[in-house]
């Protein structure tokens, strides 16, 4: 069973093709690193998965449901942290948590409370006064609050300090311990993903370079992920 099936997904902005005929699958129960250089099309692809951008062609199926036709049902089951989470920043943390919870039938309030405590986020603080790190941690706590079957993280901790990045890895590990949960985690920092990913999808210039098991990739290339990536991207650039 696949948690994500992407078929021929394409996005054009005018004459520029940001994502071109992208196809890959992510098996249920895995942590998939979605990797590519800056500007490779990762965010555009993820925005199409989340129905925040309309594909020019192709489709994405999440948890067996079409990402556009079943968008509302999927909101309950898919957690998402974008690269720059936009919160209603005039709100206090406590109000934002309550507001977010109101969209979910099943909301894990104790879990969110635990995470806020661990991240030392003051519930009476206005969201706009939070540091970037706290803002990212808050976004993670809110994404986990809905007990998502699928968690999609778009460069969530890039540029943040090592402790915040660790919080994200811990969040991923804890979620994946539960039966059948799946995580898609995009980054241009390969080593960050390497620790927790068992699957990888590598893209460049909007196109798929490789997808499959990280371990099989290492065994077949006999190289680190970074070296394999450089070799595959370099090969393409010369074509």
């Amino acid at each position: 069973m696949n948690a994500i099936v992407v078929e021929n997904l394409t996005k054009r902005f005018g004459r520029r093709t940001a994502v071109e005929a992208l196809s890959f699958q992510v098996p249920e129960g895995s942590v998939c690193g979605f990797l590519g250089r800056n500007g490779a099309g990762k965010t555009t692809a993820i925005r199409m998965l989340m129905n925040l951008a309309r594909p020019s062609a192709g489709r994405a199926t999440l948890l067996g449901l079409d990402s556009r036709a079943h968008h509302t049902a999927l909101m309950q089951r898919v957690g998402y942290v974008s690269e720059s989470p936009v919160h209603y920043d005039g709100m206090k943390v406590r109000d934002l948590v309550r507001f977010t919870a109101s969209f979910y039938r099943a909301w894990n309030a104790p879990r969110v409370g635990e995470l806020l405590d661990r991240f030392a986020i003051d519930r009476d603080q206005k969201v706009r006064h939070l540091s970037r790190g706290s803002n990212a941690q808050l976004a993670l706590a809110l994404a986990l609050g809905g007990d998502p079957e699928l968690l999609i993280l778009d460069e969530p901790a890039t540029g943040l300090d090592v402790l915040v990045r660790r919080d994200f890895l811990e969040g991923i590990i804890q979620l994946i311990q539960r039966e059948g949960r799946t995580v898609l985690f995009s980054s241009h920092l390969l080593h960050e993903v390497e620790r927790v990913a068992d699957q990888v999808v590598l893209i460049d210039h909007g196109r798929l370079i490789h997808s499959g098991s990280l371990e099989e990739l290492k065994l077949s290339m006999g190289r680190s992920l970074e070296e394999s990536f450089v070799e595959m991207v370099g090969e393409r650039a010369r074509l």
């Binding site: 942590v31 811990e170 590990i173 994946i176 620790r195 927790v196 068992d198 990280l214 290492k218």
Partner: protein, 129 residues
């Protein structure tokens, strides 16, 4: 169990884990009947994917080094000490092979190599177990 893992290495992490458990058994740090940390505990401790730990344990079960007990955890199997002995010899044999390859590359003679080993043997501390 403290593992020393390099996620960025070309060697897949499940093989790194399996090799370190094998070595611990070979060295006698882990003995027959010892319980290993659960997949969940090891994954949380090292912030790695539980699937990776599970794959390493499965590999070691296939080799007969580990055994699962129903409803409890994963243990070092009772057959492990003899496998451990074979593994101990294999590890040292491989290191000797590497040294011999270097000797060949540098054009050393057999008697030179033998002399090098003989010089070092007295320093070997034999365990009285």
């Amino acid at each position: 169990m403290r593992l020393n893992l390099s996620p960025a290495s070309p060697i897949p992490m499940y093989l790194q884990i399996a090799e370190q458990v094998r070595r611990a058994i070979a060295a006698g740090t882990l003995r027959a009947g010892d319980e290993l940390p659960s997949v969940r505990a090891l994954a949380s401790e090292h912030l790695i994917n539980p699937n990776t730990v599970a794959r390493a344990y499965l590999e070691l079960e296939r080799e007969g080094l580990l055994a699962k007990r129903r409803g409890s955890g994963t243990y070092v199997s009772s057959a492990a000490p003899t496998l451990g002995e074979a593994h101990r010899l294999a590890v040292v044999a491989e290191l000797i092979d590497q040294a011999l390859a270097a000797a060949e590359e540098f054009g050393l003679t057999r008697s030179q190599v033998r002399a090098l080993i003989d010089q070092r043997l007295p320093a070997l501390q034999e365990k009285s177990s």
